[in-house]
């Protein structure tokens, strides 16, 4: 019998592709539409990470299928324009996966710091 997405432990999704982690991070604590996700990712990364429409919606499609994100209905965003947009929100599993990925990255950063790749005195 095929496993439901909820049955998978969060660690089995790791490591996450960069775009996937960025999108999950953008959805933590707030449901957003595509453009808002894109803006949040660009702003948070000082415009170094720019998700194109294909990458954004391709990743959202996979996240929806994996049960890490769910649709939160359609409505207009008065801050953008009058068009109705589909909103996306992170699921409990998505949150657990994002947390597990953050911890994984934290461990890697700690290891890099121990090796003096980053930290005090490095550019």
């Amino acid at each position: 019998m095929p496993r439901r997405p909820d049955d998978r432990p969060p660690e089995s999704f790791l490591p996450l592709p960069a775009a996937t982690f960025q999108i999950l991070l953008a959805l933590v604590g707030e449901e957003r539409h595509g453009y808002a996700i894109m803006k949040e990712v660009a702003d948070r990364s000082d415009d170094t990470v720019r998700l194109g429409p294909g990458t954004l919606y391709g990743t959202l499609k996979r996240l929806l299928e994996a049960g890490l994100v769910e649709e939160g209905g359609e409505r207009a965003d008065p801050g953008v324009d009058d068009e109705r947009r589909r909103y996306y929100r992170i699921t409990k599993l998505g949150l657990a996966v994002a947390r597990a990925e953050a911890k994984r990255l934290e461990r890697m950063v700690r290891a890099a710091r121990r090796k003096k790749l980053i930290g005090l005195g490095t550019a």
Partner: protein, 198 residues
């Protein structure tokens, strides 16, 4: 052509199922980003094209897999190719055997005639195997397997009775049925299973 129509045309790079669900939102996003990129249109288009090149092939591949398996598409293409090759090699063997038969007719003895007859028979069997594979009946693969084996036996016998064929004709007559048998066994091992059943 307006830039939006141009982008709409480019969206055809994505699979239809993906477009049905996300095209409207992608167009909204396109409009918004085009507005944000005023004055930097070259960079905007380069990034947009790069985004399509990076994301569309993977989504197409996923759509093919979801539709019933990439393996199935590869298998069908391979089966068609092998069927066409079997028919062509069969025709070649028949024609070659008849030419050999006509050329040696005045001095023909029994073993020599038998070899020519076996060559014609082997070629016809291979042709029929190709046709059976093209028509894809329920038992096409097992029938083609039996015919390839029969063709192989015919050419082995030619080698023993009277090797009247040219080197190339013998190589094809012995080599192709072996390749066909191996292919059909390989195909049998990769036959798609019922979804959900491990």
């Amino acid at each position: 052509m307006s830039s939006e129509r141009c982008y709409r045309a480019l969206l055809r790079a994505y699979p239809a199922s993906f477009r049905r669900k996300y095209q409207h939102e992608m167009l909204l996003l396109f409009r918004q980003c085009r507005g944000d990129a005023a004055g930097r249109m070259t960079r905007f288009w380069v990034e947009l094209l790069w985004d399509i090149v990076r994301s569309a092939p993977a989504l197409r591949l996923e759509a093919v897999r979801a539709r019933g398996g990439l393996d199935l598409h590869i298998m069908e293409a391979a089966m068609k190719t092998m069927a066409i090759l079997a028919t062509l090699v069969g025709v070649l063997e028949v024609v070659n055997s008849l030419i050999e038969g006509v050329a040696g007719w005045p001095h023909a003895d029994a073993p020599w005639m038998s070899s020519v007859a076996l060559g014609v028979l082997g070629g016809i069997v291979l042709m029929v195997a190709g046709v059976v594979m093209i028509r894809r009946g329920a038992r096409a693969a097992s029938q083609a397997l039996g015919m390839a084996a029969a063709c192989l036996v015919a050419f082995v016998l030619i080698g023993f009775v009277a090797p009247v064929m040219s080197g190339l004709a013998m190589l094809l007559g012995l080599g192709f049925p072996v390749v066909l048998v191996l292919f059909l066994f390989w195909r049998r091992g990769r036959a798609p299973r019922v979804p959900g059943v491990v």
